[in-house]
């Protein structure tokens, strides 16, 4: 078994990233899309920390990861508020319903 190194983390992050993107593309439920976005952010975080540990050797990766986590929380809060409005408008969170640009 080869010792775990940077490549392992990067491959894992790449797969997670693709899965997240695929989720965002395929799902029609807005919350599902949100969950896909969370997956993307986590893949990015794994990359940041892996580079921090194995390549750059600095703390910036961890600091950026913390920023990402906090921003993700903010993003989810706003997104859910929007979805709730969407739901009270269309009785569904199907993003395909939201193709009309009127209040």
């Amino acid at each position: 078994m080869t010792p775990v190194g940077l490549q392992h983390y990067l491959v894992l992050a790449a797969v997670l990233f693709s899965a997240g993107l695929c989720t965002m593309v395929v799902k029609r439920n807005a919350i599902g899309i949100l969950i896909g976005a969370e997956l993307l952010l986590n893949a990015a975080n794994i990359n940041l920390l892996a580079f921090s540990k194995y390549s750059a050797g600095t703390l910036d990766g961890a600091i950026l990861a913390l920023f990402v986590i906090v921003l993700a929380a903010a993003e989810v809060a706003i997104a859910l508020a929007i979805f709730l409005n969407f739901y009270s408008r269309f009785a569904s969170v199907d993003v395909d319903r939201g193709d009309q640009m009127r209040g």
């Binding site: 739901y87 009270s88 408008r89 269309f90 009785a91 569904s92 319903r97």
Partner: protein
């Protein structure tokens, strides 16, 4: 065949305003999507038996609360029309089973008035003593379960500890602990011994200081006050309009007590106060007022018992009444002050050994009718507080 869209109902079934399903499907217009219809009961820890409250809620907010009754209906009135007058006494025990003595007295007094029988003075005093003891026992249950409804477990056990002593005394008096059938038409079935009277005094000596403990434990607890003050306010005019009675009426500040206003038995010889809610913690007629009226009434009941014990005359305890006596043709309505309010019996006699018509006016039945009005626009957590403060006994609501 039903028309499409027609709902499956049985006659008399209460259907709350439905959620607009079409609007949900089409997604048009203003939606009230958070509405939910919940059955609180008939099996629910906070509904004191089998009261079913249909709640229409918006999250924690109660939009509508409809009491639905009838789960404990046992045809008590109809039975009354098929058994001789004396044999109906045990059935009254099972109406308000927490205050069986008072029920017995109400029925017996009604029949006595109908038949023109007068109970001997000693019987009347014993009736007052047991009625007030049962009032204390009943209020203790109300007090303890009210704490339970609001999440305080300990008062319940304290209340039952004291109630147990009363039940022991009743057991010593008549052999039964819940359904006494102690009253007979024309008096009481067994005489109270002097030793028993001493035990009652001993109980009162023990019990009266306990009320201060109750107040310390529950009545003046800040969380309890916050939970009950200004909740479920019944204004006095609404209380009268709904025909409320008992502590629920007096909690709204209406000074009305049949023991004082139309004294029966020997209540006119007793010195006691009618306790009313004064809005001490919030508005007049809130849950706290109703609750506290019960606590105060326990003090007054103890006073009455002491006076009655002191004045207890010697003599017979039961007038001679034949087992299957036939009252004269006529009708009577007689009501007395029960722990939960005014319990009245309306009896029509056609001169036979069984009543032609017997109708009971239960206080809980009338009191529960206010629920829908005061439970509107409150929170889900207030529903147990309100139901508990009305203190219904379903055995008597449904009869």
């Amino acid at each position: 065949m039903r028309e499409p869209g027609e709902s499956i109902t049985t006659p008399g079934m209460i259907i709350p305003d439905p959620v607009n399903v079409d609007a949900l499907r089409e997604g048009a217009g203003e939606l009230r999507t958070e509405e939910m219809i919940i059955n609180m009961g008939p099996q629910h820890p906070a509904t004191h038996g089998v009261l079913r409250v249909i709640l229409r809620t918006d999250g924690e907010l109660i939009l509508d609360a409809i009491p639905d009754i009838g789960y404990l209906h046992r045809c008590a009135e109809k039975i009354g029309e098929n058994v001789p007058y004396t044999q109906f006494v045990p059935y009254t025990d099972r109406m308000d089973y927490l205050a069986a003595m008072n029920n017995n007295i109400a029925y017996c007094l009604a029949v006595e008035k109908l038949a023109g029988i007068e109970a001997p003075p000693r019987a009347q005093y014993i009736r007052v003593i047991v009625a007030e003891m049962n009032r204390i026992a009943s209020h203790l249950v109300a007090w303890g379960t009210y704490g339970l409804d609001l999440g305080a477990f300990t008062p319940f056990l304290y209340a039952f500890r004291e109630r147990e002593l009363i039940l022991d005394l009743f057991e010593a008096l008549c052999g039964a602990r819940l359904t006494y059938s102690y009253m007979a038409i024309g008096g009481v079935r067994f005489d109270a011994t002097a030793a028993w009277c001493d035990k009652v005094r001993e109980f009162l000596d023990y019990f009266e200081p306990k009320i201060a403990e109750y107040n310390e434990l529950l009545s003046f607890n800040q969380i309890f006050i916050k939970r009950t003050a200004n909740v479920g306010v019944i204004p006095p005019d609404r209380a009268i309009a709904y025909g409320l009675s008992g502590p629920v009426l007096r909690g709204s500040g209406v000074k009305w007590d049949l023991r004082k206003d139309t004294p029966d038995l020997v209540y006119d010889k007793m010195d006691f106060d009618v306790c009313v809610g004064d809005g001490r913690m919030g508005k007049v007629g809130d849950c706290w007022d109703r609750y506290f009226v019960r606590v105060l009434e326990m003090v007054q009941s103890a006073r009455i018992i002491r006076q009655a014990l002191a004045q207890l005359p010697a003599g017979e305890c039961r007038a001679k009444v034949s087992r299957a006596f036939k009252p004269p043709v006529g009708e009577v309505y007689y009501e007395i002050e029960n722990p939960r309010g005014q319990l009245g019996f309306y009896i029509v006699s056609d001169g036979q050994a069984v009543p032609y018509r017997l109708k009971a006016r239960g206080p809980s039945f009338c009191n529960v009718s206010i629920l829908r009005e005061i439970a509107r626009d409150c929170l889900l957590g207030d529903i147990p507080a309100i139901v508990g403060s009305i203190d219904v006994v379903m055995g008597e609501v449904d009869r």
